[in-house]
Symmetry: C2
Subunit: 407 residues, 2 copies
């Protein structure tokens, strides 16, 4: 095993150790503010300290390890420690542990850098407990919304109380923003959570942009009726209309390079085998790295839905649920990451991130760059999440080279 691979093996062992800190027996679930997240944070703190970082926690409970003195401008490197329910062990954690491994290597090589580094382990990115995605990074980016403090989890606990119980300070969240003038940028390593690297036979991917996202709630309302007594010509079948639309979603997305569009939820009412569906509600999720393209695709789908509803005599409901703008990664940082990947002996595969990441939030206050690591089958948010030691070694090698290239 090479020097880098032994570091990678240590990272994978630490991923296994963190996976043991869970709210649930036999599966990994680690939401914001829980004892399991506290335990994971403490383990990360001890590893940071072994790597020579001086470690603290901010007002929301992000664990931050600093290397280099206060006078220098800082590169932030991070990812998150919280998970979805029944999660895999790499989504988030891998990025934190690769960052720590890079700092260990710098220390072992007695290498200094012309800038400071802070490794950040965010306390909440998935937002499972309070519906607060990017909570940890929003505090750092100065985008925390204080009205969120009144949100309650399923047990009735408010976010404010959860922050307090977690050792944080709810009153300091709104002004915890990092000064953009102090920051060189933000760098994040993350598993791809998709199949592109595997299909392209590449261990690493350099992220050019994080897609924007349009979400809508679409309903088709026709007329329920008896499946035996209403002739086909007299039907206003809401599910037939919805199926027509699902096909249109697929067709429109296929026709646009780089676009994805998904109907992930679909509910039929009344939902009995002998009743013609009277109403269908479905979710639409459209993503693209170009906001104009995404908006135009969504608009076309809205028009198609209207045309389908019109010809079928059913009513269309269209409610915009969310509009998230795309984030461009820093060209300067991304070129350095690409050079580092190439210098490490790997093909430079550029791709977009279709999933959101803390980097999207950090882009508000700093230039950002991301490195994706191939994961088996593109599977994520699932205990079957898997990476190889070779690919993690590639990520450590490329990230270390990136740190050395950066001035």
């Amino acid at each position: 095993m090479s020097y880098t691979e032994s570091h990678a093996a240590a990272v994978l062992e630490r991923c296994d150790e963190l996976a043991a800190f869970s709210e649930e027996e036999g599966r990994l679930t680690r939401r914001f503010g829980t004892p399991a997240l506290r335990q994971a944070g403490e383990a990360v703190r001890s590893w940071m300290e072994s790597a020579g970082l001086s470690v603290g926690r901010d007002a929301i409970g992000n664990v931050i390890g600093r290397f280099g003195d206060r006078s220098r401008r800082t590169l932030l490197i991070g990812s998150h420690l919280d998970t979805v329910r029944d999660a895999g062990r790499y989504d988030g954690m891998l990025g934190v542990l690769v960052a720590i491994a890079c700092m260990e290597r710098l220390r072992a090589e007695a290498r200094s850098l012309p800038y400071a580094v802070e490794v950040i382990a965010f306390a909440d990115e998935e937002g499972v407990r309070f519906g607060t995605g990017y909570l940890g990074s929003s505090v750092v980016a100065g985008r925390f919304d204080p009205s969120a403090l009144e949100l309650r989890d399923s047990a009735g606990v408010t976010l404010a109380d959860a922050v307090r119980a977690f050792g944080g300070d709810p009153d300091r969240l709104t002004d915890a923003r990092r000064d953009p003038g102090d920051l060189i940028g933000y760098y994040e390593v993350h598993i791809e959570q998709g199949p592109v690297l595997e299909a392209g036979d590449a261990p690493l991917g350099v992220v050019g942009a994080i897609s924007g996202q349009s979400r809508a709630r679409v309903t088709f309302t026709g007329q329920a009726g008896h499946a035996g007594t209403v002739p086909m010509a007299l039907r206003r079948d809401a599910l037939s209309a919805a199926a027509h639309f699902v096909r249109a979603v697929e067709e429109v997305a296929h026709g646009q390079e780089g676009a994805v569009a998904t109907v992930g939820e679909l509910e039929v009412e009344p939902g009995a085998s002998n009743v013609i569906p009277g109403r269908v509600a479905l979710s639409l999720d459209v993503r693209h790295t170009a906001d104009l393209v995404r908006r135009s695709l969504t608009e076309r789908l809205h028009e198609r839905a209207g045309a389908i509803a019109g010809t079928r005599g059913v009513a269309l409901g269209w409610e915009v649920v969310q509009e998230v703008e795309a984030v461009r990664c820093s060209q300067e940082l991304t070129e350095l990451v690409s050079a580092a990947v190439a210098a490490a002996g790997h093909p430079v595969l550029r791709l977009a991130s279709g999933a959101g990441h803390d980097a999207a939030m950090l882009s508000i206050i700093a230039p950002v760059a991301m490195l994706f690591v191939r994961c088996a089958g593109g599977i994520s948010h699932n205990p079957a999440e898997s990476v190889t030691v070779e690919d993690v070694a590639a990520a450590i090698e490329a990230s270390s080279r990136f740190l050395k290239l950066l001035r």
Copy 2:
């Protein structure tokens, strides 16, 4: 108001009276063996007696009123008194009350018939409590399956105990079959439960056949994945496959005169807006009055599903849930019904029954005929079920003429 319309108004009043006998406050639910059904049966018994019928109850609790002596062959006229949950007040009851109204008219006219008549109010057709559709008529037709006595309702009560509590005799159900040699036929008046008569501007419809039915449980199993990270070309989206199939169902049924095909249930797994569906299960219901056509349609849909699954790289599951053969109505009786409708001054609109009825069960032991009554919007199994006094008058007039034409 004409003589017949005053009879019709009385029938509608009785429908209202029966609707008050419910298991639930504020809505009509009347399942087999309940006090509500007992009350409805007692009301029907008293109206039968007022019409000069001699009334009894058989072993399952069907209420039977006889006119004419035992030596004569018998025409059965009937429908059912039980309902679905939150039912309308005409599905079933209208047929029983029109039959009683016809007997009252014969009596008022001091008219004799060259055969006997028995009006049967079946105790269970919907089968809501025990999942036993056609329970009442299956006893009369000699098709009662004794293993059904062990079925339990949601409260854990067995069918055997429910029959006993209802005053019936579970040990006599299997040999309660009526002798076909004694029977002239079975005649049933029922609301259409569909929109064909309304669309055809006809108060009455003469049923030529009751459709057969094929039911299947169809599953498409692809690969769940992240809605943002899996490119369109790499997806195996189970919902896209299912939508393709739903469109095929509609298209194939549209292309076959007299066919209906319905996907009424459709469940998506995992069913989250940001996850590509990995599995979809749906119900298929295909009906036609020609069994060969129905089987061929179902086979074509099975082939289409296989082709859709094949080109999309998803797995197809196809489980046959039920196969019910079509029932042809008696040509002889149906011609008399048609003549009676014409003589009553109404257009003779022939149609198929896409819903099942007690007549389907009775066809095992006797020639059957059915008369449909127009209902508003084709709506049934719903409190909004509605018929007009004029259309009920037409049904009484036509049915009375049918009884006089029959020898």
